[in-house]
Symmetry: C2
Subunit: 188 residues, 2 copies
């Protein structure tokens, strides 16, 4: 059975909705995340490490908010930046920009020890990555829902904190990565 | 011979000035840095990885600027933050604070596969860490020397960008970590 390396039951449910709940299970393993300016090498290294630990096909994810004018900041360190300077200060940083395009990104990395169609370059075990992106822009905080950067990320006229959970799931960067992965995995 | 895992000739020279140039050499190995909110686990994981690769006693370092009111931001990700939002924006973030204490920190991690006096907790190989700290505060950028966060870090009345290279070396957080390490290592 495919193992989703996560302790988050919401992530498992989201994955089950794309793959079927007979197909995927959650595996609690705290792999060391590496440092990199983009998500792909981080998720890929995690998938290799987790596959060695678990010995079954694994999926690992990583996600973050990427602000274009800031070369992707906070990107892979979104969680660290949220708990240190906080989301309101990220807005203050972005406010003077004339243009504030940004994206929520999620990368899923898959490893089962076998060759894949489109392997990530580095590393000894083949890994394939699937990316989900939601484009939007950074705005002054609005809305009471969601968490993290949701109040300052606007997509299609509303921030993620102004949307219902159902609307957010519909737009989810993780959902988009899972859809791409599920399509590929069901052929495998 | 002790191997300093770095490609920076300046770091090797600084280490030689504390240990003697018969004692330490530079080893070019690009170990994967892990993510953590503090330097110690990052340097320790690097030392374990490098010791496995090199097979000789190794020293690995990590360094960063820690702003107290921001829970240590940018900390271990100082280099990423510098190349994405830039040093001037870190000053803009800090400007509204009533109090701006900060420190330059360097951690040296040593691993030779043998037991050490005061091992870092996690991990399979014993590692000992040595920390060097220079306290100061964040100020509006001043001075043309140095690099990175030097213009916004004031210690004892001058920013690091207003000091000569000799003065900076005298105050170096890396130098302080090297001094602590050298004292311990010469007993070993």
């Amino acid at each position: 059975m495919l193992q989703y390396v996560t302790t988050n039951p919401g992530k498992l449910r989201e994955a089950e909705s794309y793959l079927g709940d007979e197909m995927i299970d959650a595996y609690d393993y705290d792999y060391p995340e590496i440092q990199a300016p983009t998500l792909e090498p981080i998720a890929a290294a995690g998938a290799r490490d987790a596959y060695r630990e678990v010995g079954q096909p694994v999926v690992v994810d990583d996600a973050g908010l990427f602000i274009e004018a800031f070369d992707g900041f906070p990107g892979p360190y979104s969680s660290f930046v949220e708990t240190t300077i906080g989301v309101d200060r990220v807005w203050e940083l972005a406010e003077p920009l004339s243009d504030r395009p940004a994206s929520f990104r999620c990368v899923l990395a898959y490893c089962d020890g076998e060759a894949v169609d489109d392997p990530v370059d580095d590393g000894d075990l083949p890994v394939q990555c699937f990316t989900g992106v939601v484009d939007g822009e950074i705005v002054a905080p609005r809305g009471d829902g969601g968490f993290g950067y949701d109040p300052i990320f606007e997509h299609d006229g509303a921030t993620f904190a102004e949307r219902t959970a159902a609307e957010k799931n519909e737009l989810s960067h993780r959902g988009r990565a899972l859809a791409a992965f599920a399509e590929w995995y069901q052929q495998r």
